[in-house]
Subunit: 347 residues, 2 copies
């Protein structure tokens, strides 16, 4: 901001209202501590001067930035962008701004340093982003910092860090069971990435459901993916190259499911005619893709809102959550066109 005239400060307001700056400050943060008459005078002065608080000064004094930092691997993915929307909205309601960082890939130390230790942000909303919450925790501990973090992952949550997650394993199992209900037994899985050396929960859910139903896990049908479209296309090619193909595929997320279906189609194999596909997330596109996508809906907006609320609570209570909370939100099966029942002959 380049100002051609100076912004009014709290002193200017005080002068105009004929009180001290302390009183103005009180009117603004603890109105009940000031007599009604003065309060009105001050409020009028605030209006007249067009005063707006200087956040930098406030932050310096209070050691608080009223700002959250959200980190996601790739905001470009519609999955995260809806969450971001919710985060911003919720934060705004509580008077916080939202800084966004992406996939920094640098060491967490420098990173945290830049944002958190420098009074730029008061807490961290972690939606992946190559930061292992456990590492973070360790780092913070070594530095003698108690760092407000809320994580939202699809791996099992780090026990030491407050988290808000979907029940990925259960939801994955539900998806797979739905395919079974449709008569499928030859079921494959396009997996998500393995992050932070933790098992992928959706893969676990898949394995769990298959095993529980006494169905074989065919390694050729379990493909590595990265939750993106190209991965889906590559997986489709891999499947097309097989002589024996699955009749149904559980894809780790919608993006990769779209890629997969597209890849199949390029090879002349149609979904759901030849292969049923179920996704995960229920992004906006799922409803209008062709075929419309059967998927497990994640309550993305809720994820964002709940995570934000929790983070602000942690920040404002100024309590180290020695016993972190793990909120688990349910996912919902959304049935659409991309899955079909096999008839009695198994076709």
């Amino acid at each position: 901001m380049v100002l051609t005239r100076k912004t009014p400060t709290i002193q200017d307001v005080a002068l105009r209202a004929q009180v001290s700056s302390a009183t103005v400050s009180r009117v603004l943060s603890a109105p009940e501590r000031v007599s009604e008459k003065t309060r009105e005078r001050v409020n009028a002065a605030v209006r007249d001067t067009g005063y707006s608080i200087n956040q930098a000064a406030r932050s310096l004094r209070m050691k608080t930035a009223r700002t959250l930092l959200m980190v996601a691997p790739n905001i470009g993915n519609p999955f995260y962008s809806v969450i971001l929307d919710a985060v911003i909205d919720e934060a705004q309601k509580r008077g916080y701004g939202v800084l966004v960082g992406t996939n920094i890939g640098l060491d967490p130390g420098r990173w945290l340093t830049d944002y958190l230790l420098s009074t730029r942000a008061d807490g961290l909303l972690l939606f992946h982003g190559g930061l292992d919450p456990e590492d973070l925790h360790t780092f913070a501990r070594e530095e003698g910092i108690s760092l407000p973090v809320v994580a939202s992952y699809d791996e099992p949550p780090a026990p030491l860090v407050t988290s808000v997650v979907t029940d990925n394993r259960a939801a994955a199992a539900r998806a797979v069971r739905y395919l079974m209900q449709l008569g499928h037994t030859k079921i494959g899985h396009l997996a998500g990435p393995v992050r932070n050396n933790r098992p992928n929960e959706r893969l676990l859910g898949f394995e769990e459901a298959m095993t529980a139903a006494n169905l074989p896990l065919n390694p050729a049908w379990i493909l590595p993916g990265n939750y993106d479209q190209p991965g889906g296309i590559a997986a489709a090619r891999a499947i097309l190259a097989l002589t024996e193909r699955p009749t149904a595929m559980f894809c780790g997320n919608d993006e990769s499911a779209f890629g997969f279906i597209h890849g199949l189609r390029e090879g002349g194999v149609e979904c759901p005619r030849d292969i049923s596909v179920i996704g995960f997330d229920d992004v906006g596109q799922a409803e209008i893709y062709h075929p419309t996508l059967t998927t497990m809906r994640q309550p993305r907006e809720d994820l964002g809102r709940v995570a934000t609320r929790r983070l602000i609570d942690i920040i404002e209570k100024r309590e180290t959550p020695t016993d972190p909370v793990h909120v688990v939100l349910p996912a919902e099966l959304i049935i659409r066109e991309s899955t079909r029942a096999l008839d009695s002959s198994g076709r």
Copy 2:
């Protein structure tokens, strides 16, 4: 941030390096002004103490936040999220953070106040968001503020505000001409919203191309939209209800094109068999939708990067761009499956 031990300040570093805090500050911001020997000593002390600058103090003193504010109507739209990604990356390179605001819908005054005048952000990246850059300019002028803003719109840019835009009108005309090349003459348009009382450039481009080719503008084929899927679906229904339908449709953006194609399909009308559709943006989905979408590719990443660079330049040069720059980036026609040529009989 809750600290269990205090963060090292510049004083601590000074103490350890046996110099004054002024010298430490110099080493950090103007190393050449300090002798090599002292410089090394200070750098070592910085490392030893794990010092990281207190942004709030710096901001207070320098009246600068090293932060940009990006405003977009709806980050959930993949169009904006890719831009955001680029903005964040570019800003980070220059040492800036990115605050994100959405569709506030409040009056620009209060809004600006909260962010810009309060030393929270140094400049504004405006990707719509219900703020008219002209209003902003006026507001700022009245307040005696010179406000660094870069806008990226699909309306004609406000002459007073620096902007980085795609050449929407030319690109729209190009899209329409392509449809004509394929033999289409009955061409409709699913328009974008009218914002800030300015004509929609893509609509203008459409009209321009039609008129130039002496083709009639059928009002029943020019439908209002909002750049979103539901609008596309609604438009499809409207078209389906007509006895005489266009053979090709130019949709204002990809999102609405997807909705439109989907809506057609629900009514048993296939794209491109019955109606060709061309979109605008080239979002990630365009490449794997079924049919894959012919569209005008906007250089979204470039938009984000260029806008960010320009904004930072404005901020750092501390110059009021009395003669604002308007960067225009070209769009590119991407031909895919959703458009087909009519044969000689016009089918």
